[in-house]
Symmetry: C2
Subunit: 421 residues, 2 copies
């Protein structure tokens, strides 16, 4: 008998009707002979609505109270799903994060899972029940307060439960039927992927693919939990996320897909005096504002003018703060100006295949050149190439790369063997 | 420094704006130098909406899950009020029923408070904070499950907390500014009562006055908690509920008010064989269906026919079930028929004064007679006279009694001294 963990997101649970459909799927899985644990997010837009209500009564809501408030959403959805399962003749019980043994740090709205002690879940399963576990939350050992886990919290809850209980699979139900070689809305002949390795999925998620949260994929990778991303609206198999690029043979390693990201902005600090420590000062000031920096471009120093430009990207939502923090050290550092450009986009090619096949970077750049797309910044890892370009050229770039690497249609993706990488 | 417990109901909390008004009142009470504990119901119609959602996914929702679901409502409102109080510069913390130490029986949707161990509330107060406590809920010692308290649950929570913590007063905030000598919508010159004893309030609440729940008043009476029923929309003082009729002198004891109730129905079992045990059988069958019987009229037995009629009242919502249960024993008991009449109403006169002043019953009946109101059943206690009449005559009856006992306008209520009761 297998242990299956299923996670359903807000849109899969947004009405009584959707909840009943979800309950049918849960019961089907249970009646096939599996033990079933289900993690539910809050219904529909509940979390955002509660957050909005909170800000109406206090523009800076105290964090302990905010977590007391937000966790009500998951309490509601999990109780309703348990009721719906029971109405189909299968016993079910819902548990809060605390009752399910999700132990976290005490950082409200951004807690990390520290341990999972699923005793009550195991008791419920032993009684033949389906166990519902509230996603996105846990309890802090230090303060005994309820905490919420931040972005990707429900996916992470599901993976953490699956890891702690040695589940055979963690099924993530969403509104798309898995991972594609590119966004099908941009590339009509994008292919559905049956399988993708953890590292490739991490790169896809980190560079714009929204189907799974980075954090949940990393947790799954670390504990070896097989993920199955699929649609809650259809019975079609989705995409399995499992295995490491290390375990792929040269023949198996492919170019997997193209991701894109419209959420970044470019910050250029112009005319930076070319002194030691100056770059560090600039990056430290941004980091102290709790802003992550993604791509970096620093012009070669030693020019006649003794000045250089430093360019980097941040999330667009952090752009204004980053610029403001830099302006504050303008006199101290002595740079000329800070330029902000939010009309940028990032496109990335991901695939284990680029480790062992030369020429991928060349094909990549040629494809963009031929499509009239200019590259601003380039950034690579072992299995990924990313470039920052003008946001208006993103769709063109995605299609050009997808075509150049033959990712579409009936053909398997073939890596172009050619000149050295 | 006084300890004040305040309770706010759903309509006082139905929007972010109302919540901010409530927070202002809480802060005002705190800044006056009091320790403040606040009990909040769920916002607006949240409880009914959650119940409705539950029934959409399962027409017979399992009770443990229903309590998991319903308690989310109070979690939300108390966290929001705590946030609103904090935004006004006063520290506040919200607690679930469990965190606040409300220990209950394990009867879901109808739990009784067994004990209150308010340790965390006291700690919060000691830190100078306002403590928010979720109403309508507690935790069962036996099952460790969350329970809800049934009708009047939030009022009862507030009184229970006030009793356990020896509060100086328990303020119940509602949408009317206290108790009146009659419903002001029926009797325009109904007078606002400054004070009423526990027993008189119990009688008023039991016979139709909706301003306070019977259960909360009884709890307050038993533990001597002074109640103050007032409006959350205005600063006017409300009605204080305290003291016993036993402690009133003959001069102090008055006729206090007139209540009315449109929620009952009359059931008549006709042609009942006049045998011993038959009345008991009829009442037992109704009781076994968990239906309370209010007024009873049994005709004198020993008539020539050897048959009699038994008439009683029940809540209209239970009428159909009561009739159905009686039909089932028709053959066994041998009565002729069951007649159901839901076009009845009950009007009651309440007042400590009737204990010591003769003639009240006479004045009562004369007033109704003069107003053309026919009495169907009459039922009394030491401080109350109730009659069942046609529902179309209710308003007339209320006004007639209010007038006859001079309860309106500027005059104090005067008991009519006259012939013996």
């Amino acid at each position: 008998m297998a242990l299956v963990v299923q996670k359903y997101g807000g849109s899969s649970l947004e009405s009584a009707d959707r909840i009943k459909r979800v309950a049918e799927r849960i019961v089907e899985t249970r009646k096939a002979g599996n033990d079933v644990v289900v993690v539910c997010s809050a219904m529909g837009d509940t979390t955002d609505e509660l957050l909005d209500l909170a800000k109406q009564v206090n523009p800076a809501p105290p964090e302990r109270e905010l977590d007391m408030l937000l966790t009500a959403g998951e309490r509601i959805s999990n109780a309703l799903v348990a009721m719906a399962v029971e109405s189909l003749g299968v016993e079910a019980q819902s548990f809060t994060g605390s009752q399910a043994g999700m132990i976290t740090t005490s950082a409200h709205q951004n807690a990390r899972i520290v341990d999972v002690t699923p005793g009550r879940i195991q008791e419920a399963l032993a009684e033949g029940q389906v166990a519902l576990v509230a996603g996105f939350q846990g309890v802090s050992q230090d303060t005994k307060d309820i905490t919420t886990l931040g972005r990707g919290g429900s996916d992470t809850t599901a993976v953490a439960v699956a890891a702690a209980m040695n589940a055979d699979v963690c099924e993530i139900y969403t509104d798309v039927d898995g991972v594609y070689t590119a966004d099908p809305r941009i590339v009509p002949d994008a292919k559905h992927l049956e399988h993708i390795t953890y590292e490739e999925m991490l790169e896809m998620a980190a560079t714009g693919a929204k189907v799974l949260h980075l954090r949940a994929v990393e947790y799954a990778r670390r504990y070896g939990v097989p993920l199955h991303v699929r649609s809650s609206y259809s019975p079609k198999p989705g995409t399995t996320v499992s295995g490491s690029v290390e375990d792929l043979s040269v023949e198996q390693a492919m170019i997997t897909g193209v991701s894109h990201d419209r959420s970044e902005a470019k910050v250029t600090v112009r005319g930076v005096p070319d002194n030691p420590g100056v770059a560090g000062r600039i990056f430290r000031v941004v980091a102290d504002a709790e802003i992550d920096i993604d791509m970096v471009l620093q012009n070669v120093s030693g020019t006649a003018s003794g000045k250089t430009d430093i360019t980097f990207t941040v999330a667009r939502s952090n752009g204004a703060v980053a610029v403001a923090e830099l302006e504050k050290i303008s006199a101290e550092v002595g740079f000329e100006e800070v330029v902000y450009d939010d009309q940028v986009g990032k496109v990335s090619l991901v695939g284990a295949g680029m480790r062992s096949h030369p020429g991928v970077t060349a094909t990549f750049c040629e494809a963009l050149f031929n499509a009239g797309v200019n590259i601003d910044i380039i950034n690579t890892s072992e299995i990924r190439i990313s470039v920052l370009i003008q946001d208006t050229q993103l769709d063109t770039a995605v299609r050009a790369l997808h075509e150049a690497f033959e990712l579409g249609g009936d053909e398997e993706a073939v890596v172009y063997a050619g000149s050295g990488r």
